[in-house]
Point group: C2
Chain length 527, copies 2
Amino acid sequence: MSSNEQSAEMHPSRWGDPARAQALPAETRGLVEMVFGLEDRPAVPEAPLAAPAIEPTVLAALVDLLGDDHVRTDDDTRRLRTRGKSTPDLVKARTGDLTDAPDAVVRPGNHDEVAAVLALAVEHHLAVVPFGGGTSVTGGLVAARAGFAGVLSLDLVRMKRLVSVDHVSMTATLEPGLRGPEAEALLAAEGVTLGHYPQSWEYASIGGFAATRSSGQSSAGYGRFDALVVGLTVATPRGRVALGSAPANAAGPDLRQLFLGSEGTFGVITAVTVRVRRVPVQKVYEGWRWASFAEGAAAMRALAQSGLLPSVLRLSDEAETAINLADPDAIGGESSAGCLMITGYEGEPAAVEAKRAAVTAVLAGLGGTCVGTEAGEKWSHGRFDAPYLRDSMLDAGVLVETLETATFWSNVERLYADVKTALTASLGDPSIVLCHISHVYETGCSLYFTIAAKEAADPLPQWERAKVAASDAMVAAGATITHHHAVGTDHKPWLAQEIGPLGVSVLRAVKADLDPTGILNPGVLIP
Amino acid sequence: MSSNEQSAEMHPSRWGDPARAQALPAETRGLVEMVFGLEDRPAVPEAPLAAPAIEPTVLAALVDLLGDDHVRTDDDTRRLRTRGKSTPDLVKARTGDLTDAPDAVVRPGNHDEVAAVLALAVEHHLAVVPFGGGTSVTGGLVAARAGFAGVLSLDLVRMKRLVSVDHVSMTATLEPGLRGPEAEALLAAEGVTLGHYPQSWEYASIGGFAATRSSGQSSAGYGRFDALVVGLTVATPRGRVALGSAPANAAGPDLRQLFLGSEGTFGVITAVTVRVRRVPVQKVYEGWRWASFAEGAAAMRALAQSGLLPSVLRLSDEAETAINLADPDAIGGESSAGCLMITGYEGEPAAVEAKRAAVTAVLAGLGGTCVGTEAGEKWSHGRFDAPYLRDSMLDAGVLVETLETATFWSNVERLYADVKTALTASLGDPSIVLCHISHVYETGCSLYFTIAAKEAADPLPQWERAKVAASDAMVAAGATITHHHAVGTDHKPWLAQEIGPLGVSVLRAVKADLDPTGILNPGVLIP
C-alpha cells in the first residue's frame, strides 16, 4: 500500500484507515464467543474538546512564525493528535475521554522552524509534544500539562524529504516526518531500502523510529533502528546538535546513542542519516514447526550464535501457534500442535539461496520440520493487520494488549514463565496469554506477549493490574522493561529500577542541560 | 605469549618487556640510514621524581583502607605509572621529564574498595587517574594537577578475575585490570574467546578497552569492543551504576554507550560483561595484492556491503606496502608494487572454508591477486611488534608516530589525500607517511597513518605541528578525530569541533552530575 492510499491521520479511538476496519473473521469470532462471550461495545461518538488554553497573543506569534495554515486549534486537528495507540489510549477515547488533547497543533517545515517553535515555547512556557506517526503504545504522546501555559503538538508532517542518498557509502538522510511507507517509496526510487518494518510501519515515522529505538520484523537481517542510524540532527531549546562523523569512532561517549531513545525529551530530531541496503530482488518466507517453544528458541539461539541469521526470524509459543492456526488452511491443513517459526530471506537470489540452504541445514539438524512457504506468506500478508483486529475485539468487549521485554538466552525460560504467570494470574479467567520471539541476538532475544481478556466494566484498572504484575516480573527477572516499545509515561517506574538512581540522575542532568525549562515532552521517559 | 612471561609494567620511556627490545632489523636499518641517516639518541638514565605531594595523614587514611602493600609512593612504582605510550610521552620520558608522575599509586582489590578510594579522593580533593594497561597514546593518563591536593594513580592491577561465564548466552563478566593475554587465557580455559586484539593487546586492559572504545585487528569478524559490551558496572563518586538488562532494549537512551568512551572521567569501570565466541578451531591469514589503494579499498567496501566480511581485513597503501615488503622474503619474492591486503578467517573449519571461498570469489572477481598465506602469516606473527620497532627508531633519532580516523566510504579518498598532504607538508623532508585501512563497516572505514621523520633537536613541537595539521584536516573533511585511540588530552580541541558546543555541554553536564568535584581524570576527554 502506498502512502497516498492511506489516511495519514488516525482517530484516537481506533487504529489506521477506517476503510480498512474489519469485522472479526468468522473463525476468530467463533473462538471469541466460545472463550469470552460476545458483547457489543461500541465507541462513543465524537466527544467535544475543552477550548484551547493557549493565549491568543501566543497563537498569533506562532502564526507569524509558521503561517496561518500551520497553526491549528480546531477540534478535528487536535483530536487526531491526542495520545497514541496503547489499549488504554484507545479505551479512553472510546469512552469519550479526550482530556489529553493538545491545545494547538503546529507544523514547522524545517529545522529552523522547529527551533523557532521551541524558542517561542520556552518564552511562553508551553509544553511541546513532538508528533510523528502517533503510534506510541507507552503513553509517549501524553504531556504532563500541570504548570505549563498550554500544550503544543509539534507535528512533523511537513518534514518528509529524502534529503540525500549516498550510493557509495550506502547511507540516506531522511526527515523525521516520513512514515514507513513514504520513506521506503522514496528510497525505492533510488534502488535502496531501510528494511525497517515494525508492526506500526504503515503509520510510524522515521523520527519516531529513532526517538524510541524501534525494532522491525526484519531486525535479524537489517538490524534494529538504533543500529541503522549513523548520524542525526536535533533541535534543542539550547540550539542544534549534529552528530555522526563516521560509522563508528572512539571520540568519547557515543552521543548518538543518547538521543536515540530520548523520546522527544532532549530535543526534536530533525534529520536522521541511516544505513541502507539495495532493494532485495527476492523475498522468501517460510514456516517451520517445533515440538516446543524451548526447542524452537534453542534453534534460534543456534542460528544467532553461528552467524547464520535469516532476514526474518520469529517463533510463536504453543498458545500463539494454536490461535494463529485456528484457520486450518494456514499451513496446509496440518494440526496446530507445537510451535510455528517463520524464517524470511531477502536479497539477491544467490545470497537468498545460500543463506536459506545453510539455515535449513541447521534447523533440520536440530529437529525442526519445514512446513513450506504457505505459512510464511500468510504471516507476511497479515503482518501489519493486528492493530485492526484489536479494534474489532474491543468492539466485541474483549480487551487486547501487548507488552514486550528482552533478556539473555540463559534467562529466557524463567522470564517467559514469570511474565506469563503474572499476566495469567492478574487477568483471571477468561483470559488468553500468547507469546512470540521476534528479535534475536547472539546473546539473547525479545519476548513479545499478547493478551486477551473479557473486558471489565472499567477496563483501565483491569489492564493496569496486569501491566504492573508483568512489569514487576520483568524487572525482578533482571530483564528490560521494553525491547522496542520505549518508555513513554507507562514504563517510567520500572525504568528507574532498570537503570538505577544514578542512571535516572544522568538522564535528568542531560535534560536539564539541553532543555533547562523542561518544555520538551514533560512527564515522558524521565522518572 | 602467556601473561606470566611478560613484564606487567612498562617503563615510561619504552614499550613492553625490555627482554624483547630489539635492534633495528638489517633491512630496516639500511632503509633508515638511507632516508634519515643514523644517529645514536639514547634515553637518559632514570630521572628522579619530585617528592609526593599528598599529605601523610591522607596517605595514612588510604593505607587504613587498602593496606600498606597497596598504597605506594616509591619512585619506581610512581615512575611506572607515568603517562602512556604516545611518542610525545616516550620522548618526554627519554629526556628525563617525569613531571606527570602521580603522587601515589593505590591498588583497590574490588568495586567497594574503588568506591572507598573515590570517597577519600573527594574528601581530600585528590585527582584520580584510573590505570589499566598504561597504553594510552592520546594523553589519557596525564591528569591536570592544578587545584588538586595531589594525584592518585588508581591501579586496577588487583582486579583480574573472570567473574563468570554464561555458556548459554555466550557472555562473560571480566574485571577491568585483566590485560589482553590474561583475559584470553582465562576465557580459553572455558573454551571461549573475546577475539579483541588491538596492537596494544599484550598490555592493554579490559577496563581500558571499554573506557576508550577500543577496536581490534579482528574487528571485521568480532566487532569493536563497544559492540561486544552488553553490560558494565561503574564506581562513581556518587555511587554505583550497573547497566545491561538485555542485549538491546528501548528503555531510553543507551547509557552503556555513555560510559563506553568516557575514559575514566565519569567513573571507574569495575566490571564488564562482554559477548564471547567459541575459541576458533582454525585460523587462516592470507595476502592479496591490488593495483592501487583505491582498488583495494573498493574491494573492502564490496565485502562489507555484501555481508561477507572475514575476521581480519586490512589494506596497506602503496607506501606502507613497499616498506612492509622491503624484505623480499615477505610474499614469496614478489615485487613490492601495488597494495597488500590481509584477509583472515577464524572459526570452525567448515565455516572458515565457506567464508574464504565466498570472499575469494568476490576479491578475484574485482581484480585482486591472492599471494598466499605467507604474507598473512608474516603479518600475524609480527602484529604486536610495531611499538618495539618504534623504540628502536627513536634510539636511532627517527621520530615514529601513528594517528587514525574514520569516515564514510564516499569520503575516504578525500580524507586520505588531505591527511597525507597535511602530514607530508608539516613534517617536511625527510619524512615517510604510510597508511592502512584496518577496520571496515558497511558505510565506511578507518584510516590509520604511520609517520617517520628525522627527529628535530626538540621533537615535541615538530610532532605537534604535524598532529595539528592532520587533525585539522580530519575535522575539515567531516571525519572523526579518532576511530579507536580515544580522546585523552591530545584530541580535546578537535572533539569540541566534532560534537559541537552542545555535545561538549552534555558531556560536562554528565560529568558534573556523577563527579561533582571533578576528581576523575581531570583534563582528559572533556573540552
